[in-house]
Amino acid sequence: MNRDVPDDGASRRWPRWLRVLVLLVVIAISVVVLFTWVFPWVEEMTQDPTLGVQLLRRPR
């Protein structure tokens, strides 16, 4: 099949600029989530040399 020839479904696809925009937004959100929550959480779970953090977070 010739990939340059759009099939019937091609007309229903999002325009290229919109797909690129969505991809960029997803990447930006992922970076923010990773650096704001995921990496600090991983660091705390694997690298915290102090005591009592878990104790303080335990429901009273």
């Binding site: 991983v42 779970m45 694997t46 690298q47 915290d48 040399p49 009592g52 104790l55």
Partner: protein, 234 residues
């Protein structure tokens, strides 16, 4: 269907790459940040701490006394090293201990639990340090054995020597280890806390030493181990 499989494949590949890069950053590049911070602390230390140390067990000039409350978070409160038969062990470099023990502050080096005692104090001087990452200042702290000494210089230039006593692996919730008298000996104590096993925070490795010589008055303000453990930000 093929597009979905291809999309999931790409997501997995990118996720794997991100995790890999993060691990590489943690293991090798965080040390650069700590090295830079320790260099800056050393420069500040050399400008503010007297070169000629005063006799450790003698009271220094009150005018030279630095009120612990005045030490800003992240500033150096002490310098620390370890010796065996006069040779330095654990770390080749002198470690500058910062005020505060949050993960952010520990990026600069070992951190002093703010409510624990000061160096040379009659209570318990508690210090936390990374076992891996951020320069791993306490990577080899488990090599300490009977006869080894822990040396601490305070901001007045007084050198305090603690004789190694014991080490123990405890749960992260065992805050009693940084209480006023964790060994029950009544002697002034130093407590070092770090991760165990290496690369995991599942447990804590605790190292204790006892002060050699007479202590000075305690300035510890934590009334319980829970309070000391909970106030890592000063």
């Amino acid at each position: 269907m093929t597009r979905v499989v291809r999309g999931v494949g790409w997501v997995l590949v990118v996720s794997g790459a991100v995790v890999l890069l993060y691990v590489v950053y943690l293991l090798w590049f965080t040390g650069l940040e700590t090295q830079r911070a320790q260099r800056e602390l050393a420069e500040t230390w050399s400008l503010t701490v007297p070169d000629a140390p005063v006799q450790a067990d003698q009271p220094s000039d009150p005018a030279d006394e630095v009120d612990d409350e005045q030490i800003a978070l992240g500033d150096a409160v002490a310098a620390l090293w370890f010796e065996r038969d006069g040779e330095r062990i654990v770390s080749d470099e002198m470690l500058f201990v910062v005020s505060g023990a949050t993960l952010q502050l520990l990026r600069s080096g070992p951190g002093h639990y703010p409510l624990s005692d000061r160096p040379g104090g009659a209570g318990n001087l508690a210090i936390a340090g990374h076992r891996t990452t951020y320069g791993a200042p306490f990577w080899a702290v488990d090599v300490l054995t009977e006869g080894d000494t822990i040396h601490v210089v305070d901001r007045q230039g007084r050198e305090w020597v603690y004789a190694y006593r014991e080490q123990r692996i405890v749960a992260p919730t065992d805050v009693w280890v940084i209480g006023e008298d964790p060994l029950g000996s009544g002697a002034p104590t130093i407590t070092l806390t770090t991760c165990h096993p290496r690369g995991s925070a599942a447990q804590r490795l605790i190292v204790w030493g006892e002060l050699v010589g007479d202590p000075i008055e305690s300035t510890a303000t934590g009334t319980s181990p829970q309070e000391i453990a909970g106030r890592v930000e000063g």
